[in-house]
């Protein structure tokens, strides 16, 4: 099954998933609450923030006996707040992949909980923070007592264009169980002056070079989008958006 849902008018939305599913959620309202309820599912979800004003996204939910991959794309011009709290129950896998382009201030909190046995949480955040923005990203992986054989891994990559202190990324692991596998990592930095010189010396202006760097840093392969309904259009839209922002 493949479906695309546009969320408007500050509604609460419950996304029930069972079986194979791909869902495109297009957020087009100032405040949006999403609740995930996955049971015996194998699903891909793409959350695309389309709203052109300040946006707050609240997410909660739990997944049981399921595999859920959620991709977030936020490239808009406004302030953005996100709060995501998902419980991963028995025999479940949760994959989170984010693409955030900080043009304006952003605050994102993830609290992902390994609640049951044989659970797995994989997080990969890619953030680019442009000169005017300030980005705060709190990523908490929690493994509760009794969540045997739980796995929780997070990778955070952050690229700042102007000064490195504009982006704050806090990877956190809270572990209350012995039989677990967990890791967290963070890479953060600005564009190397030598790399910039190299690209400039081939005739690319600062903006063109920035565009190439940001695209390479943020955008995954096109194939990752093709599974979603409207995926191709959203991919093209995102590329155009990055280009537009970098040439400003």
């Amino acid at each position: 099954m493949s479906r695309s849902i546009t969320l408007k008018d500050n509604k609460n939305y419950v996304l029930e998933i069972d079986g194979n599913d791909t869902v495109t959620l297009i957020v087009d309202s100032a405040e949006c609450n999403i609740e995930y309820a996955a049971n015996n599912a194998d699903a891909n979800v793409l959350v695309y923030i389309k709203n052109e004003k300040d946006t707050v996204l609240n997410e909660s939910g739990s997944i049981v006996n399921s595999k859920l991959c959620i991709k977030y794309i936020e490239l808009a011009n406004h302030c953005f707040k996100q709060n995501t709290n998902i419980d991963v129950c028995d025999n479940s896998i949760l994959e989170i992949r984010t693409i955030y382009l900080g043009i304006n201030d952003k605050k994102v909190d993830f609290d992902l909980v390994n609640k049951g046995v044989d659970t797995e949480v994989n997080i990969r955040n890619n953030v680019v923070c442009l000169d005017k923005a300030k980005v705060v990203l709190n990523v908490i992986g929690t493994i509760v007592k009794g969540a045997k054989r739980a796995k929780c891994h997070q990778k955070n990559h952050c690229l700042t264009v102007d000064s490195p202190e504009k982006a704050v990324v806090l990877p956190v692991l809270k572990i209350d169980e012995n039989d677990v596998e967990a890791s967290h990592s963070l890479s953060s930095g600005t564009i190397d002056e030598e790399v910039m010189f190299y690209m400039n010396s081939r005739g690319l202006s600062k903006k063109e070079a920035l565009n190439l760097m940001v695209l390479s840093y943020l955008m995954p392969n096109e194939e990752e989008f093709n599974v979603f309904e409207n995926g191709k259009e959203l991919y093209e839209l995102s590329l155009g958006r990055v280009k537009e922002v970098c040439s400003m």
């Binding site: 790399v195 010189f197 690209m199 400039n200 005739g203 690319l204 063109e208 190439l212 760097m213 840093y217």
Partner: protein, 275 residues
């Protein structure tokens, strides 16, 4: 009109240290200038200053290309005007593929973007000429390249971009005998086709004997101390620089390397420990 690079009494500093102390040089199209000299005496500095590396400050002197003030241009403007620097240590840009990078570089200097068909044809031709691997276009720029591949990639970029004045900074070091010949042939062929002017920095006579320079300059302690032609290159290859030092009563600068002291888990760089 011929595009001529004119350098007049160029002084260049890095930090507060003066490296170039008055260099004057003119490079015309279709000429090959060999730049020689002992290590650490300013050859690479000259090339980087012409290209506009941000760490190198021009304190006095002028550089003009095609009668336009090069020093007033940004690095990318210099490139679009026709200057090209093949670097001694090319940078890795992981995440950006060679094909995206080269296409962006070509499109930056043309009003109309190059057609995909024409681009693929040209890059394939270049890859064959330089005997590089077929998957090159899809690999990230210099990421995981061997030393020889990086140098060949610089020449590939030069062939695609078609500059009017190219500077090759020790392009032959790290290349095996066959590859040196490939690179020299490729550069000479491009020169024949486009009347490209070349400035070549190298330590090895082998490369110069292939390139056949029309002019030669030796830089010692930031100044050109002797100029000549291919004969001078040969003489230096057989006799070294010592005769020069004696004849002109000059001393070369010693190359400085940062010393690394290990402080347990920390380490720091300290320069100029001998001073």
């Amino acid at each position: 009109m011929e595009k001529i690079l004119k350098i007049n009494d160029l002084h260049v500093s890095v930090g507060d240290k003066e490296i170039l102390k008055g260099i004057s040089l003119t490079v015309k199209p279709d000429e090959i200038h060999a730049i020689m000299g002992p290590n650490g005496n300013g050859k690479s500095t000259l090339l980087k200053a012409i290209m506009g590396h941000p760490a190198y400050t021009v304190t006095s002197g002028t550089i003009t290309f095609d009668d336009e003030d090069v020093l007033a241009m940004s690095v990318d403007e210099r490139s679009r005007k026709g200057l090209f620097l093949a670097m001694q240590y090319p940078k890795e840009i992981s995440g950006v593929t060679n094909s995206d990078f080269l296409r962006a570089a070509i499109n930056a200097r043309n009003e109309k973007p190059i057609s995909l068909f024409k681009f693929i044809k040209e890059i394939d031709k270049g890859i064959k000429t330089l005997k590089m691997k077929d998957d090159l276009a899809h690999r990230f720029v210099n990421d995981g390249f061997s030393g020889g591949e990086m140098k060949r990639n610089e020449i590939l970029q030069m062939m695609m971009i078609k500059p009017e004045l190219a500077m090759l900074d020790e392009i032959d070091s790290g290349l095996d005998v066959d590859a040196i010949k490939l690179v020299a042939d490729a550069a000479l062929k491009l020169k024949e086709e486009t009347k490209l002017g070349l400035m070549v920095v190298s330590h090895y006579e082998r490369f110069f004997s292939l390139m056949k320079p029309t002019h030669a300059h030796v830089i010692v302690d930031g100044k050109i101390v002797v100029e000549g032609d291919a004969e001078l290159v040969e003489k230096i290859d057989t006799d070294g620089y010592d005769w020069l030092y004696e004849e002109l009563k000059i001393k070369p600068l010693k190359e400085e390397r940062p010393m690394v002291y290990s402080l347990g888990t920390c380490a720091r760089n300290k320069r100029n420990v001998n001073e």
